[in-house]
């Protein structure tokens, strides 16, 4: 029951051979080879596998690849600028020491980016809510929240100009 489907990942079309049972996280990591997306719990709890689907954060470990056809999938590899320099939210994470082992970071950054995209002025509570599905074993979250606040502020400042 193998079939060829086209997935649009980071604005590029990939023709991949899958079965209906294949999970999006496995296809992204193993078939396409984009390993920035992590697989932790595999049960929807930890958020390491977060990708953006049509701009909204979803969990690729509980998403069928076949159900992702026709949608715009964005992984952590897709948010840097075209010239290879980092996206400002990635810079903010580095500047605030919000990365230790880095396993949670791709999912955390995508959740945070989606938050600021839908709500450019989030409160601390809204930030905490937005990342409540992203587990970090290392940092204790404080630096992550500060990084997201500073990124949101820089976006708000830019919009004010």
């Amino acid at each position: 029951m193998k079939q060829i489907i086209t997935l649009n990942i980071n604005n590029q079309n990939y023709d991949v051979v899958v079965t209906p049972m294949d999970l999006l996280v496995d296809v992204i990591r193993k078939t396409v080879g984009l390993t920035g997306t992590k697989k932790g719990c595999g049960q929807g709890d930890c958020g390491a596998c977060t990708v953006l689907i049509d701009g909204k954060p979803e969990l690729s470990c509980i998403k069928l690849a076949v159900a992702s056809v026709g949608k715009k999938i964005t992984t952590i590899e897709g948010i840097a600028n075209e010239d290879g320099t980092l996206h400002p939210i990635q810079d903010a994470f580095l500047d605030h020491g919000a990365v230790q082992c880095g396993f949670c970071t791709p999912g955390m950054i995508l959740s945070a980016k989606a938050l600021v995209d839908r709500n450019p002025n989030p409160t601390q509570k809204e930030i905490k809510t937005a990342i409540s599905g992203n587990t970090c074993r290392c940092t204790g979250y404080i630096n992550i929240i500060e990084a997201i606040e500073s990124y949101a502020n820089s976006v708000a400042e830019k919009e004010a100009k």
Partner: protein, 293 residues
């Protein structure tokens, strides 16, 4: 890398196509909406299926539509779209509140309102406010359409009234009665991502004097295999004005009706205490809001 059992995948584009498929292979199929329950059950080998029918991309099954009588919410409307709806907040805040408490943001962008009640978990977040708001559930098949009350949809743990060829297509929630208010509350173990130990929704309607209770609907979740609509609380309250003494009695009445179990999340005794506390607090809150409504 294949850990799910073998199934065939169907991606209908219209409701009519879904109903056609259900008539044909409904007895050998599972519908996939957001998949936040279904994929986990498949992964854990709790269920197996020959066919998956993806209803999540059928546009006519999703959306929030206001009518003269109230609001209609499509079965495949995402929980996050309910949580973020500035239009629902005014009259249907109990549902918006519950939606915002379900899982994490990622889960809410995937999960649907229809999926939540169809999964029929005793701990489900939205069946209680839907019942308190007097929502009806619209069920369709190729044979026709029928409507059941939200509180009659769930029959027990992971059991509901749907036949194999039927699906839930939408919720119809009436506009709130004059001088009424509905509130939702829950007590869990952590602030986010927990499964509720107890959840509850209370709808209080007052007479034109804005003091005397005309009707009250108190619905408890997670304290029995299906949501319980209290009979004792209306018996105590209708025709009366709320006072501290009645508030105490309401707590006791709700506790006497709850049939909680002890499990990994909480003991039965603790759950009963929580029922009392929630019943007292939410009835007061709803009463006060209804006075201002």
């Amino acid at each position: 890398m294949n850990i799910l059992s073998n199934f065939q995948y169907h991606a209908p584009k219209t409701k009519a196509e879904v109903l056609e498929l259900l008539a044909d292979i409904g007895d050998r199929s599972k519908m996939l909406a957001g998949g936040t329950d279904l994929i986990i059950m498949l992964k854990e080998k709790m269920i197996e299926t020959e066919n998956i029918i993806n209803i999540g991309d059928v546009e006519e099954l999703a959306g929030i539509k206001f009518t003269d009588e109230g609001v209609e919410i499509g079965a495949c409307t995402k929980i996050a779209d309910i949580e973020n709806s500035t239009e629902l907040v005014k009259d249907y805040n109990a549902l918006v509140h519950a939606a915002g408490e379900l899982g994490s943001y990622q889960v809410r962008t995937m999960a649907t309102l229809g999926g939540n009640i169809s999964h029929s978990s005793p701990a489900g977040e939205t069946p209680t406010p839907l019942a308190a708001l007097n929502a009806s559930v619209v069920i369709e098949s190729k044979r026709g359409t029928r409507v059941v009350k939200a509180e009659d949809f769930i029959l027990g743990n992971r059991k509901n009234v749907l036949e194999k060829d039927e699906m839930l297509t939408k919720f119809v929630i009436p506009a709130p009665a004059a001088n009424s208010a509905t509130v939702y509350g829950y007590i869990g173990l952590r602030n986010a991502m927990e499964i509720d130990a107890v959840n509850m929704a209370v709808n209080v309607e007052l007479e034109a004097d804005k003091k005397t209770v005309k009707s009250v609907k108190l619905v408890m979740g997670s304290v029995s295999p299906k949501p319980i609509v209290s009979e004792a609380v209306p018996a105590l309250l209708v025709g009366k004005e709320l006072n501290e003494d009645l508030v105490e009695k309401i707590g006791e009445a709700a506790m006497s009706e709850a049939k909680p179990i002890s499990d990994i999340r909480a003991s039965a005794e603790y759950r009963k205490d929580v029922v009392g506390a929630l019943a007292r607090r939410l009835t007061k809150e709803a009463y006060e809001l209804a006075m201002e409504a």
